[in-house]
Subunit: 368 residues, 2 copies
């Protein structure tokens, strides 16, 4: 199964003609999951290789406008790009994000009279009080969603922290398990860990032939991990006829943060194939970065190191850092310096560092 990440916006604070506001798509076999949705994401999506109608799940790291203001418009435009199928109901779009997101969508879609062709549900993550300074926390009053649901809204879950793993279980299906974890920022922020399940190796057809086993239902049993007894009485174990297990891939995408909460989360994120981490300002501006709840390349590198990530992708750059292609002689701030600083922090370990730019696509190849 092919898997890749496409960055739709890599700028901090607001969208600019050089860098869109935060948005990133994880594509796995045609299914597209959107992570954050700053203003202008729908237009960036139209400019990319992806189809606007492909988004099936949405994850919002935190409620700052540069990660959220594009969401109501995106939902409306996805709906316009949806073919109503009179034969079957359209799938529900699941949206995950901090408490308050449900009310935000209900009010923005409601007051604008926006009707969607598909149903949606908002599954809210309940932050803990140590995820931000006190002034960054929303009162229960502000996030109340006691009113009627939007006509296309389905009831969503409220998900609380599992203290035994320092994480939130968002969902688990046949292919993936997706968890969230807590980040410290000016307002509560979250990271997401997308873990693909290990899959059985391919059937060794040569060996099956030698054993006299013809294609049929028994092949499925072996692939599913069950042993099979032949007419001859011989018992065939799956391990006899399967190639090595295909290990699942892991992608970790962190929202804005100056630190991660909960030490057990490093086990959850351990060995990530791709770790996406913000690096808003260069190392020399660390005080300012941390003061605003943000990270430097060195801080991002430290997270990649402790997680033993294979690749670190930096994004969410201050708009002062132009994309390399638009860098002009004499520009004071150079985004490649951010890459150098992260690499400096990872000198003795085997982590590749990438700089995200709008429309950069990063493949997540199968592990070997």
């Amino acid at each position: 199964m092919t898997m890749d990440l496409t960055f739709l916006g890599t700028g901090a604070a607001y969208p600019s003609p050089h860098r869109g506001a935060s948005a990133l798509v994880l594509r796995a076999e045609g299914d597209c999951w959107l992570f954050d949705c700053g203003e202008g994401t729908q237009t960036q999506l139209m400019k990319s290789q992806l189809r606007v109608g492909c988004i099936s799940k949405i994850f919002i790291s935190h409620l700052h406008g540069d990660h959220l203001f594009g969401l109501p418009g995106l939902l409306c435009t996805v709906s316009l790009n949806t073919n109503p199928d009179p034969q079957q109901a359209l799938n529900c779009v699941d949206i995950y994000g901090p408490r308050g997101l449900r009310h935000f969508l209900r009010v923005t879609l409601g007051l604008t009279g926006s009707q969607l062709l598909f149903p949606y549900a908002v599954h809210e993550l309940e932050p803990t009080s140590d995820q931000s300074p006190a002034e960054g926390q929303l009162s229960l009053e502000m996030t109340t969603d006691s009113g009627p649901l939007h006509p296309q809204e389905r009831s969503g879950r409220t998900i609380t922290l599992d203290v035994s793993t320092d994480s939130y279980l968002l969902f688990k299906d046949k292919v993936f398990v997706v968890k969230a974890f807590r980040l410290f920022h000016r307002i509560p922020s979250f990271g997401f860990c997308i873990q693909e399940h290990d899959r059985p190796g391919r059937l060794r057809t040569e060996r099956l032939k030698e054993l006299g086993l013809k294609p049929g239902p028994l092949y499925g049993c072996l692939k599913a991990g069950e042993s099979v007894t032949l007419d001859s009485g011989l018992v065939v174990q799956p391990s006899d006829v399967l190639e090595d297990t295909i290990p699942g891939r892991k992608v970790c995408i962190l929202g804005d943060c100056s630190s991660i909460l909960g030490t057990k989360i490093f086990d959850v994120c351990h060995g990530a194939d791709v770790l996406v981490h913000e690096a808003t300002l260069a190392n020399q501006h660390k005080d300012k970065a941390v003061d605003h709840g943000h990270s430097t390349p060195q801080m991002a590198a430290a997270v990649a190191r402790v997680c033993s990530a294979k690749r670190l992708v930096l994004y969410h750059f201050s708009q002062r850092y132009k994309p390399s292609s638009q860098q002009k002689e004499g520009d004071k701030d150079d985004v490649t310096e951010l890459k150098r600083q992260a690499e400096e922090g990872l000198q003795d370990c085997d982590v590749e560092v990438l700089l995200a730019e709008d429309f950069l696509s990063v493949p997540v190849p199968l592990r070997r």
Copy 2:
């Protein structure tokens, strides 16, 4: 005083890479007023010749997302581009729009923890029940703003229809009087009439010299329309020493509509130097246009005719109509056909028709 209009977005329904969502700036002597603010308006503003920080008043025609979803982000970015002046308080940004706008901003700015450097006030227009089908009307419950004000919010006015003129008086200052009027659309929509006051003509200095009047406070009196008695006993009338009165200009900007409510509004809009009217679909799609609460070029032309407008600017085109510069051979829909259709409806009168494109600037010269 120079005056011009700059279109930041000219597309209907959603922003695209070819046409931004609705937004338009009226500039008068450096003061910038924004009319509608679809998603991506702040980025369009950055791409234009205008400064992001220049916006001092905002007018929202109706609450559809393609006219509104850019507003919270625009306010945040205007704030980032504002220099806090410790010597004096920043001016309040006045925002005018339909009932519900106050709640929309309070919730979007509130849940995202957005703090602005300047105060703002939302002055709500109370629609009448004949401005839309019943399903397009917001319940009082949905627009309630009983909660606490946003920290930077100042109390705004609630403005009701003046039935004697079929209009809403938004404000009157030394230079302008601005009124709104009712449009029929899927949800209540408004048009805006910006009327500059007539100004006294220039002082005829030759004539003043002949009369023996030296520069001084008496010049100001004459300019202000007061007669002056000289030492000789001679009474000088302003009309003796002033050139012709400089007539005020008039700009009318209509939001989405399939018709205008109130016949007296044609007097208010009479003689507009520029009339900005939507033309979402071509004449041959009139049924569909009206069904969706929209207009065709022919319908826009009829309004320009009855108002005796000097110039008609068409905008809010369906995204199927690419800008002329991006038109390709074989494209089925041609935006210049919309211009032709409006001109056809204005054959026997002297109205110039323009097609708006993103970043088009239309001067509003002094009347002669």
